[in-house]
Amino acid sequence: MKLIVAVIRPEKLTEVLEALYRLDVQGLTASRVQGHGGELERVETYRGTTVKMELSEKVRLEIGVSDHFVERTVRAILDSAHTGEVGDGKVFVLPVEKVYRIRTGEEDRNAVTPVGVDSHRDPALVQ
C-alpha cells in the first residue's frame, strides 16, 4: 500500500477528481492548503499597502491505494492537473505501514478497496 499525496492547483481539482473517479479511485481526502513552489510572486495592494504574496492557494489530496493502483493513479493526477506553468504542484508517493477501515475493522488492502469490489476475486485487482 502507498499513500499518494498530491498538491495541485485549486482550479484543477474538478478535473483531477473526474480523472480519479474514472479509475474507480473513490476514497480520498482533500484539504485546502497554502504553499510555495517557485511560482512567480503575485504583488497585491490593499489601500496603499503593497505586498508580495509568497504563498499560493493549493489543494492537497491524500489517497491510500493498493500497490498495483499506484501508477495509474499517479498518471491520472499528472495528466489532469497539468497546465505547463510553474505552480502545477507535486505528487508524492509514501510507503504505508498499516491501514484500518474504522467501520469494519478491515485492514490493509481490504481497507483501501472500495465497498462492493472484492479485492481477492476481481482479476483486475490481482497483481
Binding site: 497585491e44 490593499y46 503593497t50
Partner: protein, 428 residues
C-alpha cells in the same frame, strides 16, 4: 418648490443609490470566491463612471427637449440644471437630475451579471460608461423625456422598459459576444456566498421603494400606490416561486427566494403607480412562471448569461411591461385603462415599446462592443480565469489571511530589492 416633494425625492435618491451596492452583494454572492471582488466592483464602478457621465452628458441626452428620438445638448455640463424646479415640477431640477442618475447607474451595473467571471475590467468600464450615454439615455428619452414612445402612450411608471429590458437586452448581447466562461458547462460553478445574495435581495427591495415610490416625482397618491405595490407584488412572487421550487426539487432554495424577490420587483416596476394592489399581486404571481422556467431552461443552453440577467430582468421586465397593458386602471391613476378594463390598444402599444427597446438595445450594444473590442480584448485568458479575476484584474483577494505576505516598503524600490520585511506570520 414644494417642501414635502423635495424631502421625499431627496430620500428616494438615496434609496435608489443603495440599490447598486445591494446589487454588488446580490451578484457577488452568486460567483466563485476567486471572482467575488471583481464581480462586486463591476457594480461599484458604475457609481463612478456612470455617475460622472450622467450629469456631464447623459442627463441632457435623456431629458433635453431635442427630437422624439433623442434629447439634445442643452443641459450638457448641467447647464440650466440648478436649484429652481423645471416648468411644472415641484422640486429642484438638480435633484431630478441626481435622482435619474441613480437609475442610469444601476441599469449599467445590471448588465454585469451576464459577463461576470471573464470580462476584463477596463473594457467593461469603458463599455458601460459609453452604453449609459448611447443606449440608456436614448431609451430614457423615448419613454420619459418626451420621446416617441411617450407620445405613443407607452406606460412605464418606474423603468420596466427603460431599466430592465435595456439592461437584459444588453446582457444577452454581451454574453454572446464575450463568450462563455472557460469552465461553463464543463464544471459545476456554484455560488460562494448565498447569504450575500439574500442580503443583496433584501437591500434591493428596500431601495426599490425609492425607485418605484419616487417615480411619482411627488408626495401624492401615485407615490403611495407605487410604494405599497412594491411591497405586495414581490411577496406574492416569493410565495409562488417557493411553490415552483417545491414542485421541481421538493425543496425551497434560498438562492431561488432571493431571485424571486428581484423578479417580482422587476415586474411591478412599470405598473407600480398604475394598477390596483390586487392587480399588483396578480402581476407578482404571474411573472414567477416565465422567469422560473427561463432560469431552468437557460442552464440547459449554451448561453452563459451567468447570473440570469435575461431570465430575471428580461423575462420579468417584458412580462411586467405587457401586464401593465393588461392591468392598468384609470381608477388607480393610470392615464388610460388596460386590456382588462376594455382598452386592448394599450397592450399593443406596450408590445411596440418592448419590441423597439429590445431591437434598438441589441443593435446598439452589439455595435458598441465591436468598437470597444477594437481597442482592447474583452475576455480574460483561460489562465486568468483559472486564477480568478480578483487577482488578475485587481491584485486583491476577497478572502486572504495575509499569511506569508511580504510587505513591500516602497513602490519606488526595485521589485527585487533586498529591503523586504516579513510581516507577522510571514516567516520563511
Amino acid at each position: 418648490m414644494n417642501a414635502a416633494d423635495t424631502t421625499w425625492m431627496l430620500m428616494a435618491t438615496a434609496l435608489v443609490l443603495l440599490m447598486t451596492p445591494a446589487l454588488a452583494f446580490f451578484y457577488g454572492g452568486l460567483v466563485r470566491s476567486k471572482n467575488a471582488l471583481n464581480t462586486m466592483m463591476m457594480s461599484f464602478v458604475a457609481l463612478g463612471c456612470v455617475g460622472v457621465a450622467w450629469p456631464l452628458l447623459g442627463f441632457s441626452l435623456a431629458f433635453g427637449p431635442g427630437t422624439p428620438l433623442l434629447g439634445d445638448l442643452s443641459a450638457v455640463l448641467l447647464r440650466g440644471v440648478g436649484l429652481d424646479p423645471a416648468a411644472g415640477a415641484t422640486f429642484p431640477r438638480l435633484l431630478f437630475c441626481s435622482y435619474q442618475g441613480t437609475f442610469a447607474i444601476i441599469t449599467a451595473a445590471l448588465i454585469s451579471g451576464a459577463i461576470v467571471e471573464r470580462m476584463r475590467f477596463l473594457p467593461y468600464v469603458a463599455f458601460i460608461a459609453i452604453w449609459s450615454l448611447a443606449v440608456y439615455s436614448t431609451v430614457a428619452h423615448w419613454v420619459w423625456g418626451g420621446g416617441w414612445l411617450a407620445r405613443l402612450g407607452a406606460l412605464d411608471f418606474a423603468g420596466g422598459t427603460v431599466v430592465h429590458i435595456t439592461a437584459a437586452s444588453a446582457a444577452l448581447v454581451a454574453a454572446l459576444m464575450i463568450g462563455p466562461r472557460k469552465d461553463f458547462a464543463r464544471h459545476a460553478v456554484l455560488p460562494h456566498n448565498v447569504p450575500f445574495t439574500l442580503l443583496g435581495a433584501g437591500l434591493l427591495w428596500f431601495g426599490w421603494f425609492g425607485f418605484n415610490g419616487g417615480s411619482a416625482l411627488a408626495v401624492n397618491g401615485a407615490a403611495v400606490l407605487a410604494f405599497c405595490n412594491t411591497l405586495m407584488a414581490p411577496s406574492v412572487t416569493l410565495l409562488v416561486w417557493v411553490a415552483l421550487d417545491l414542485g421541481r426539487t421538493g425543496k425551497v432554495t434560498a438562492a431561488g427566494g432571493a431571485t424571486a424577490i428581484v423578479v417580482g420587483l422587476v415586474a411591478i416596476t412599470p405598473a407600480a403607480g398604475y394598477v390596483s394592489p390586487l392587480s399588483a399581486m396578480a402581476i407578482g404571481a404571474l411573472v414567477a412562471f416565465p422567469s422560473h422556467y427561463a432560469i431552468s431552461y437557460r442552464s440547459r443552453t449554451r448561453l452563459d448569461d451567468s447570473l440570469d440577467v435575461v431570465a430575471a430582468h428580461g423575462v420579468g421586465g417584458v412580462t411586467g411591461a405587457l401586464l401593465t397593458g393588461v392591468f392598468a386602471q384609470k381608477a388607480w391613476g393610470a392615464p388610460v385603462d388596460g386590456l382588462l378594463f376594455g382598452n386592448a390598444r394599450l397592450l399593443l402599444i406596450q408590445a411596440i415599446a418592448v419590441a423597439a427597446t429590445i431591437g434598438f438595445t441589441v443593435a446598439a450594444t452589439g455595435a458598441l462592443l465591436k468598437v470597444v473590442a477594437l481597442f482592447a480584448a474583452l475576455t480574460s485568458s483561460p489562465a486568468e480565469q483559472g486564477q480568478g479575476l480578483d487577482i488578475s484584474q485587481h491584485g486583491e483577494e476577497a478572502y486572504t489571511s495575509g499569511d506569508g505576505a511580504l510587505l513591500l516598503l516602497s513602490e519606488t524600490l526595485p521589485r527585487k530589492s533586498a529591503l523586504l520585511v516579513p510581516t507577522e506570520g510571514g516567516a520563511r
